[in-house]
Symmetry: C2
Subunit: 465 residues, 2 copies
């Protein structure tokens, strides 16, 4: 690392004192802990833009905000790189319980769902425990509305029903699909998120019920009451729109063509404020770079901040990045993503090329142990020793992030920030994902630990592959 | 206590074994812990009726359910006693943020609020910290919408703003009043509850914002953005309707004219399922009596279960009871109410005649210490010794319940069930007050400890005054 010319004396002193050592990490981390900027920047994004689904006016505002903020923070080569994003629009939606008694049920349509006919869609609800149960019921669900009432244990488990449930139900002739919200909120706050239609079966409308109302229907069913609902959803898919990944850089002093990507995704679902998912990740990436910049630390390699478009319903941002940068992917030392909220970062995952393509709910690393590979251990230890001060020392093999996955699949190294996620699914993809739940001290820690990692990765001597 | 004739032998044995002793309390409590009935009964009420505000069709269903359930459980003299209840209807309601950016805010109109003109009401929002701040602002709020953004510390503190805030704001010319929800939920789940207009000032429409959206407006205000909203509320007050307190009894064997009342209130707000507020209290009162009945324990005094109408917005049920039973109030040994959710009962409050009239947020007992009054200590100890098995041994002076307060003010003794309320204000008066949060073991404990208290109070020898 070198300091720029205006700070030659300071640079000399700092290098003399610390060099490329864990002591320098300490200075970086302490600076992060004393800075108000990350908190303030996330406040601005969530307050002035709010939620920002692909294709929305708010996402356009978010891009403009990203460009302006990167420039204000002194990043260079600030630009957007074209992404063609899907444009799914929720419209009005409701579920009325008709039998056994009239009431409105609390719901959120699933992302990418088709709508109902304008007059709505009325049918009997069948409570289904899981896919095995569906298989047993088979043709009994024909003409009915399937409710996958799967208790939230892990996100991976629940998300399978959100993702594949609608087509699995359609396979047996269901006319619509409901799921119990794939989250741990128990305040009648439903969860949304994308579904994935299987082209072999008809596309049926799908929505998540709040925990409370999924349980209510189950109770009614268990007391042998016939459940009839009317579902109205205006949801529709419009033409793709041109958006962009928002990018800014600190140019490396020694190996400017070697690139460290720090990233999050700028889009969110169309509820809440996208504070944890993934405003926090964007701000962590952006502020980690900005922090080094403010400290006049010039990395040997280029640090590139990427705020991806369209993670939530398409990954068009990640795929566009791969297409555009395919020829220089071998110059990417690593692509780090933070996309698991603002819980404290406890360590990082190393996501190595050659693993199978990303698939929801499947750990492509299986039981592969670090112990068997001395060179892996060495790489991890060289990164971990700089995190002594932050405590984010747990380096493991694992998935990195949805947006950087296309690059990992094309041969680059991904790194995921491992956040404490104990509160994440209370708010994830709900109206409750708002700035007020951002813990400032955790955000400062997260910026600090990612800044240390960026600093470490930018050494010419650091090799991951 | 006596067992009825069909169980003379058992009666003889039980009395011989236990008599009127704490050992009998143990048998009662263990029966409560092994019974599924309270949980099942509360499931029925919340599932088949749901929320049940005064004047609604659902409240009529709840009364019919109460009468049928009391009869099925073997209570006698089952009846409803006329109450004229107010009929406030919410209608459609919404708040749109217009400036600085368009979005819908999550809100619930306050109970008894007037509505807005049909075209809605648009105005600038002024953030007000507390009443002192309002006094300082004075005429600056004229023509504007006041938001009392008071962090939830205690319910007593927050409820003052819900109750008096609208008229306090109207006094200075505000055209509408918002409050931060008076609860601890942080899942964008707003709270409702009654306001109380001061007849000296114009009635202005009033609503609670979710925690998240109150904080959002504050953040906008702190960054010097002008906040304009449009409030639409169809809320209105219709003519009073005839309803009733639902009453059933176990007739005392020795002093049938001496009465122990066990009570809760059957009405709820028009959101959620009224599970904690106050379905739980109703079921605790009803099942405690039913438990003694099932055990063929015939009390010496009459145990009267009262499910009051219209606690939430008028206390018409409590006042009607006082009017109707004024002449026999001196035969009421005590009136117990459970109205603080289904957290575990840790003890009971004794609410003695002669205290000042009930007032929200004011402890009429002040610092009055038990230590100064040996006869009080003795009374409490005689009750507490029977709660050894349940652990609900904390007997203190304190408010009893809103519905029994009119009788306390007229000279009777009130008893309040002291529940653990640590989770209560997460759900109280919100859509999240649903059966799924009822902990069965706590409900069983609560029925058991109230059944023990009823058993104790029904001894001819028990005196509280």
């Amino acid at each position: 690392m070198f300091m720029n010319s205006r700070f030659l004396v300071t640079s000399f002193l700092i290098n003399a004192l610390f060099g490329q050592t864990p002591e320098m990490a300490k200075v970086i981390y302490q600076k992060a802990l004393s800075s108000n900027e990350a908190y303030q920047t996330l406040n601005e994004l969530t307050m002035n833009v709010g939620h920002r689904i692909s294709g929305s006016e708010n996402f356009t505002k978010a891009m403009a905000w990203g460009v302006a903020t990167m420039k204000a923070k002194g990043l260079v080569n600030v630009r957007t790189e074209k992404v063609m994003s899907p444009r799914w629009v929720r419209g009005k939606e409701s579920i009325q319980l008709i039998s056994p008694r009239p009431m409105n049920l609390t719901m959120l349509g699933l992302g990418m769902s088709v709508g109902t006919p304008q007059e709505g869609l009325t049918g009997e609800v069948v409570i289904v425990d899981d896919f095995d149960h569906l298989e047993k019921l088979g043709e009994q669900v024909r003409g009915k509305i399937v409710l996958f009432d799967v208790p939230f244990v892990t996100y991976d488990r629940s998300v399978t029903y959100r993702s594949s449930g609608p087509s699995r139900a359609a396979q047996y002739g269901a006319i619509a699909c409901l799921i119990r919200s794939a989250g741990s909120s128990n305040s009648n706050t439903p969860h949304t998120g994308t579904l994935s239609y299987d082209s072999r079966w008809p596309k049926i409308p799908a929505a998540a019920l709040s925990l409370e109302h999924a349980i209510l229907l189950r109770r009614m069913s268990e007391s042998n009451q016939k459940i009839i609902i009317k579902l109205n959803m205006e949801a529709k898919q419009l033409s793709d729109v041109e958006e962009g990944n928002v990018i800014g850089e600190i140019i490396g002093s020694k190996n400017p063509k070697e690139i460290i990507v720090l990233s999050g995704h700028l889009d969110s679902w169309d509820v809440g404020q996208g504070a944890q998912d993934d405003g926090a990740g964007c701000i962590i990436a952006l502020e980690a770079a900005s922090l080094l910049n403010q400290m006049k630390i010039v990395p040997e390699r280029t640090i590139r901040v990427v705020l991806f478009a369209n993670e939530e319903n398409g990954v068009a941002g990640g795929r566009s990045y791969r297409e555009r940068h395919e020829s220089e992917l071998n110059n990417h030392i690593a692509l780090l993503e933070s996309d698991s909220g603002n819980g404290r970062i406890t360590g990082f995952t190393l996501d190595l090329p050659g693993r199978p393509p990303r698939q929801r709910g499947v750990n492509p690393y299986g039981d592969k142990s670090l112990k068997g590979d001395p060179s892996l251990i060495e790489r991890f230890q060289s990164l971990a020793k700089f995190q002594e001060i932050s405590g984010a020392k747990a380096f493991t093999l694992g998935m990195s992030g949805v947006d950087v996955s296309p690059m990992v699949e094309a041969g680059a190294v991904g790194i995921g920030a491992s956040h404490n996620m104990s509160k994440y699914f209370d708010v994830h993809h709900t109206e409750a994902d708002t700035f007020d739940k951002i813990i400032k001290a955790d955000l400062q820690h997260n910026v600090g630990s990612v800044a240390i990692l960026a600093y470490t990765l930018s050494f010419s001597s650091t090799r991951l592959q």
